[in-house]
Every structure is written in C-alpha cells, then in structure tokens.
Symmetry: C2
Subunit: 437 residues, 2 copies
C-alpha cells in the first residue's frame, strides 16, 4: 500500500480499513515511511478524525508493534491507574502500594514530565538510588515480590508510540482524542491488565481544559479499553488548581510519604481523597471490593495502619532506592533550598488559578523539562497554601516557592503571584470528582 495513497485518503476524509491502518504502523516501525509522510498523515488524522473501527485498529496495530507483557502466572488480578497529566498530580506513588497491599498486582509503566505536567518517573528518581529502568524480567520479579513495580517504558513496548509521540510533540498534533487514546491505550494494554482506572483531568492545568473535551476523551478511552476486554472506568477530576499541597519532584514524594505516615495537613487532603477514589475503583473493578464505599474504607485502613507505607518501602528496596525516606521523609528536602513566600497583592477570595502557569514557572527553574533533553532539579518546587474559595488579605502567603537562589525567585515570583486571581466574591469550593464514566 503506497504511502501517498493512504495520506490522500485520510486527507479527503475517507475511512481506513484495518489493513490500511496496519500498513501505516508497519511503515512507521520499519522506516519505510519518512518522518514528513508520517507527520502529514498524523495531521490529516487530527483534522479528519478516526471512527471507532479505525481507533481500535490503530490501538491494536500499535500494541502489536512491540511486546505484550504476560503476567498469567501471577494469580492476583492485574490493574493499573493512568492519569492524563496535571500539576502536583502525585497519586500514583500512593495508589500502587495501596492497591498492592489489598491484593491487586499493579504493573505500572509510567512516563516523564514534559512541559507544565510532571512525570512519575522523575518523582521516583528524586529518591536517592531509585532505579526506574527495569528489564522485563526485573519488572516481573519486582511485581511478584511486592505486588507492584514502577518503571519506564522499555524500547520493546509499543515502539510505534515512541516514534509517533515525538513527531506529534513537534508538529502540534498532541490534543486529538483518537491519537491520545491510541497512545495511552496501546501502552496500557501492553501491561496485560484485567482492569484500568483512568484519571482524566479537566481545567487550567490539564491538556484538555474544557469539561466537554475531557468527557469526550474519557468516553473514548473507556470504550476502547472495554472493546479490548479490560474492565475500564474513567474519573473526570478537577485540575483547575494544583492537586494537593506540593508541586515539584522531591516535594511531591515528601507529600506522599507524609500522607502514608498519617502526618497529613489540610492542604494535602485532596491528594488523599483522589488517591482513595481511584484505588477504590480499582478494587471494585477487580472484584476485590463490592462497592466504592467499602473499598474506600479498606483503603483508609491500609493507610492508617501503615501497610501501604510498608509496601512502598519494600518496593524502594527492591528498586535500589534509599528506603530510609519512609522513616525520615525530611531527608527528601534539600537544606540549601530557599523558601520564598508568594504574597497576595490584595484582599479578597481566590477565584481562579492559572495552573499551567504554575507548572511552567516551576519548569523554568528546573523543576520540569520543556525539551526531552532538559536536566531536572528535583529539589525545587512550590507549596500551595491557598486554594480556590479561600479568603486572603494583602500580604498573606498564597504559596511558598522552593528555589536555589534569588535570581530564580526574581524570575518567577511575579508569574506565580499572577497565576492567582483574587476577586470580591467567594466561590463555592470546587468538586474534586466531576464525573464517573
């Protein structure tokens, strides 16, 4: 099948057959399609769309471009959680040990941060020695020993996505529902799961800012997962302000350990709430709990009695990290870091947070990466002291910037301050969980 003929077909809005989708993905993987041909077809797909038959064929072709993990010798039900990405979104670090402590096997393949959103692998690497580059054998061994494993995608898992994602990033073709679904679901299906819970973010810090876009994405993800015989559910959750207290790699691990130690403060509450909600749904989908209320109670118990933290510690040991951070989370905080309060410029109520601006500001001082090759400073970040609906007075602290020096503070303090909109009327507190799909 000629590449120009395939491009022409989608350019003109026609539908691909399964064979045509397969020919495209083969061409991507064997190098017979040039990058400029791939990007032309991706743009045509972006604008003209894919129907469900094309969507499933694309997921299948991408999935089969690489290896699919086989955990059939593990008795426990296999389940994972995937988030579409946000600012301060750290729930994976608690969900994995928590679900594992309740009998779910969690083979969690995660990504790195890019742009304003963070990545689980970067957060884990802020733990001294932690190894996210596991071979398939090491991954399985870890999963068997402690009930979960946290690692990056190997080159053998969905190689087609690696190629396509890099081109999409460079050609402004990320925000397409069928392309996002293909990218996420091909990788999640390669984990050999029984169940999958998707955390689809909506609001100023999400890829999809509007609720209706997030709903469309959630529906497409759930439909695709179920078509491939994975019990799939999506939770649309608020990302109109950073999740929980901290933004920044080591600070987010610190927050998670503090929560698992029961040393939670008010600003961390949404992190815990979302963690419980998502883990509970994994337990229901895998048949371990009968409903979300029961499952939530089981989750809370495993946090308060220290089982989840113990699981996390066991995993850190297996993945060569320093487990003492679980006993002394302050080890995660770099003593050379300066704490600069960001103060409100006027009296009133917090009405809006430009969450993407907060993420980008922290990225600018090294807390994330704009380009794949950027180096990360794990220690920098931000703590959110005020949330939407809170009152504030001029001069009161909205949040605290964790940075290396005054120059960094000068470069982004204004951006952080301006990210908080202060109005005269108190808004209702936002609902964390918007919809279940």
């Amino acid at each position: 099948m000629n590449s120009q003929d395939l491009i022409r077909k989608k350019r003109d809005g026609a539908r691909f057959s399964v064979e045509e989708i397969n020919a495209f993905i083969s061409g991507v993987c064997d190098g017979s399609w040039a990058d400029y041909q791939i990007s032309a077809l991706i743009m045509a797909m972006f604008i003209q769309g894919l129907n469900q038959t094309e969507q499933n064929a694309l997921v299948k072709a991408m999935l089969e471009s690489g290896e699919v993990m086989d955990f059939s010798d593990i008795d426990a039900p296999k389940a994972d959680k995937h988030s579409t990405g946000g600012v301060g979104d750290k729930t994976s670090l608690i969900i994995a040990p928590l679900a594992a402590s309740l009998g779910v096997a969690v083979p969690m393949i995660s990504g790195r941060g890019l742009g304003h959103t963070g990545g689980t692998l970067d957060k884990l690497e802020s733990i001294e020695g932690f190894n996210v580059n596991l071979t398939a054998a090491q991954f399985k061994k870890t999963l068997k020993k402690c009930g979960f494993a946290l690692a990056g995608q190997t080159k053998k898992i969905v190689p087609a996505d690696r190629k396509l994602y890099a081109l999409r990033d460079a050609t402004a073709t990320i925000e397409s529902v069928p392309l996002i679904v293909a990218s996420i679901m091909s990788k999640k299906l390669a984990e050999g799961l029984d169940a999958l819970v998707l955390d689809v973010k909506t609001g100023s810090g999400a890829f999809m800012e509007n609720l209706w876009e997030s709903q469309a994405l959630a529906k497409a993800l759930v439909k695709t997962g179920n078509d491939f015989n994975v019990k799939t559910e999506a939770v649309i959750t608020d990302m109109s302000q950073p999740l929980g207290k901290f933004v920044g790699n080591a600070l987010e691990v610190y927050e998670c350990v503090k929560i698992m130690r029961g040393e939670i403060d008010e600003a961390m509450q949404t992190t815990l709430d979302l963690t419980i909600e998502l883990t509970a749904r994994m337990l229901v989908l895998t048949g371990i709990a009968k409903d979300v209320d029961d499952a939530s109670a089981m989750c809370l118990e495993k946090i308060w009695d220290g089982t989840a933290l113990e699981k996390f510690k066991q995993n850190i040991e297996l993945q060569k990290g320093n487990p003492r951070i679980c006993d002394n989370p302050e080890m995660l905080l770099d003593k050379k870091i300066k704490q600069i309060p960001i103060e409100a410029a006027e009296n009133g109520f917090i009405t809006e947070v430009d969450t993407k601006a907060v993420g980008n500001a922290i990225c600018e001082i090294g807390g994330g990466r704009f380009k794949v090759e950027d180096k990360i400073d794990y220690a920098v970040g931000f703590s959110c002291e005020k949330q939407i609906g809170d009152s504030t007075k001029k001069g009161e602290t909205l949040g605290i910037l964790y940075c290396r020096n005054q120059k960094q503070a000068d470069s982004i303090s204004g951006k952080l301050r301006n990210a908080y909109k202060i109005g005269k009327e108190k808004l209702q507190n936002l609902e964390l969980i918007k919809e279940i799909i």
Copy 2:
C-alpha cells in the same frame, strides 16, 4: 514565532497574518523548520485552505525567497504562457518563437515531466546538444538576441518552492488550489512579466479532472496575477484526450517543427489551434494586437511565412542545439524505433480516452519519469490516429506505439488499447477551449 504555534493555528482553521506566512517561509528556507513540521503545516493548509490575503502573502514570501529577474532594460513587453500540464501538451515550443516574432519578449522558465505529464525541458533536450541549464546572464542574453529563452529554474529562483514541491509530492498535498497557485505564481512572477496567459487543463489527463476544479484554480491564478500587477488571463482547455498528434519527447518536437514548416496533418490541428489561441491572448494583453481575431491572423501569418520557425532555429543555435532539425525534422526520429499499431477491438465511436493511462503507459517504457531520478528515452512515444467522436472499425488503428522492442510493446499495448472507450453513439467533437477567465 514558534513553529508549533503556527501549525496549531492553521490546524484549527485560523487565518495567518502576513508576518506569520513570512515566518513559515523563512523557516523553510533557513532550515529552522524540520521537514516533518513543514509537511504537517502543508497538510493543515491543504485541508483548511488559505484566503486571498494569505494566498498573496504566501506568493510574495516565496517569490522573495529568491532572486527576481530584471528585464527593465528590454523595451519589448514581457509575457509568458504557463500550462498546468497534460499529455501531448507541446504548445510552448511554438508559442515562444511565435510570440517573439511578433515583438513579445518571452522569458520562459519551464519544468520537467513527472508522472503522466510531460515537461518542456525534456522535450527540448531531445534536440541534440540543446542546453536548458542557462545562467541568469546567458538567459538574458538569449532573450535579448532572439526574443525568447527557454530554460530550467536556477537554484536562485524561488528556492522555497523547490523544497515545498518535493515535500508536497511525497505527502499527497499537490492538488490544492492555494498551494498550486503559490507554486506557479511565485515562479512566474520571478520572471518579471507584464502579462501572463495560463492554460488550465481539464479532463482525464489533467491534474484537475473536473471542470469546476479547473475553474476554481483558473480564477485563483488570475486574481493573484492581477493583484501583483501582471495582466493575467486563463484559458480552460480540454485535456480529455492527448493534445494534437504525438505524445513523447522527440515526437512532440517533431510535431511542432512540422507545424511551423506548414506541413500539418489533421491530427496536429488542435496543437495549432491552441497555440494560436494562447499566443493571440499574449498579444492582446501586451497591447500588440487590438483583439484576439486580429492577433490570431497575425500569428497564422508568422507561421505560414516561416518567421516562427526561423526564430526557433535562431534560438536553438543560441542554446547550443542542432538547428538542422528545423530543415530536416525527420532527424528527430530514431530509426531503430519500432512502430506498433494499436488496433480497435470493436466497431463504434471513440467516446472517451483515459488520457492519464496513455501518459502513464508511455512513462513506463521510458518516455517520462515516475521519480525525479528516472532517465528518459526521448524517442519512444505514441501517435494518436483517432480522436473522441471519430468512428472506428474492429482492427482499425487507434494510434501507433513508438517503442524499442517487442517486450515494451507487450507490456503496454493492452493499456493503450483499453484507454480508448468505444461506444455505439457518436459524441459531439469536444470543444478545445472551454472557457476564458
């Protein structure tokens, strides 16, 4: 201006400013845009379109990416003809000397054949020694001496088009009105013209097979030419069968010389008719003739009295070709070529010719190129003995294949025969000139 931001804008159907179009073309020329980014934006432009402001900005940016010729020291009005390409479309070889013999300076930059359509440069190179690779100085000198020059595009003329055209060819983004207009008009405007006549083909051998598409293209070309102060007119002409008698490089030069020698046969009549129509319009646009009827009479006189042939001969000498072909056109015919009649399979009338199939068949035996690097056999080709509306009997000759050997004959005879549809009803002869725009 960030490349992703520009791609995103057109992807979402927004309009570009002049500055944004300039940023794109700069990026194409200075290499700061990767090929895969260029092709993504080209696909977005293809699907979302360009308005007239964007169209003119794109033409101007492409034009200014290279050198513009300056013929202000030539007193004669400067005019050219450009065809959108067809099969057997050889009028340039007569139009240039004919217009020159009537006082028009014709700086004709031409192209090579690709796919089923032929190219003027290839035809000229079938004349022994003929040099189409002129420097700007040689081109101008030739133009001054004999009133016309025939050459390929130098690297300094519209470099942006060279890059864009190669990518469009590989990514199925050729057939877009604004992109075709930008490609054609940037190159034609670089010739420093006063007037331009466009021959927009329609029918089975044209890029745009439907009349309405050809009309849209013609209107856009004319509007753009006039916006840039070049008096521009378009003639929509029939390409539902090969033009005139011959298809094939040397054979087409032969036909032109025969016509200029007054040795015309019936099958060559449409070549002469179209040549006169297009040249006459150049004479009217440049103010040399008062109307098309007068201009046509002037043209016919210069053919019958031998002036046009004399001009052609003078040019061949200046461009290092063998001028004796004008005295003895049979020199152009390779004696080793076999002539194989293609016979009708049934009685009836010719109702349809798949002109693209004829062009592709001749291309297959070396008469054209499918890829830029393919070598051409100038001697092979086809003569059209029957035209749409003619009656035929089973076994009568539809056309004659000029080929090297029986193997070539076997490989394409069937395709040529099948290109001719024979029906029971006699169709009206087709109008050569469909519309003037």
